[in-house]
Symmetry: C2
Subunit: 102 residues, 2 copies
């Protein structure tokens, strides 16, 4: 297989996960509703992608109380940032390789 | 949702489909075994991704005989080439937008 394809990370394949990670690369901590509105996903869909990224240890979930209200925030881990950068590099290689052949 | 995310095409999300389309952008007609070896996919996995791309009318399947042997080849359609280029452009926007924020 071509090298750049090997480096494409299945954990980030879907548009939803590309979107989630793109948001978390910029914002330190993001809550569920902000992600939901930014990415226009349903609750169930967003939750399942967040869980997959948490299982891969690419993001960290924090539950806390703001006054009496529970608030859940999401934050990219160092491993998540690193892995996402590598994924973007692999996508860039794919794009470059396709453009060379045009 | 951010514009570049909207333009990411779900039909090309998986690594396998990125690989298939990358090959078909360069080679005019490719047979099953060449794709299988190039992308290192199982028969079932490759067949199911090819079927999805055929259903989307992004590739065309041709069955013919070479001597007495049946041969199946795959070819990107004009719509497939156009859609794949748009997908790569959207990925490029995603990458650029992430790099700006580093």
């Amino acid at each position: 297989m071509k090298k750049y394809l090997e480096n494409i990370n299945k954990a980030f394949e879907s548009r939803a996960r590309l979107g989630i990670m793109s948001v978390l690369m910029v914002e330190d901590r993001v809550d569920f509703n902000t992600l939901k509105e930014t990415l226009q996903l349903t609750d169930g869909n967003l939750a399942s992608h967040l869980r997959a990224l948490e299982d891969a240890e690419y993001l960290r979930v924090e539950k806390q109380f703001v006054g009496r209200k529970p608030q859940t925030t999401y934050q990219a881990t160092e491993a998540g940032r690193e892995a996402f950068k590598n994924h973007l590099d692999a996508l860039e290689q794919l794009i470059l390789s396709n453009r060379q052949n045009e």
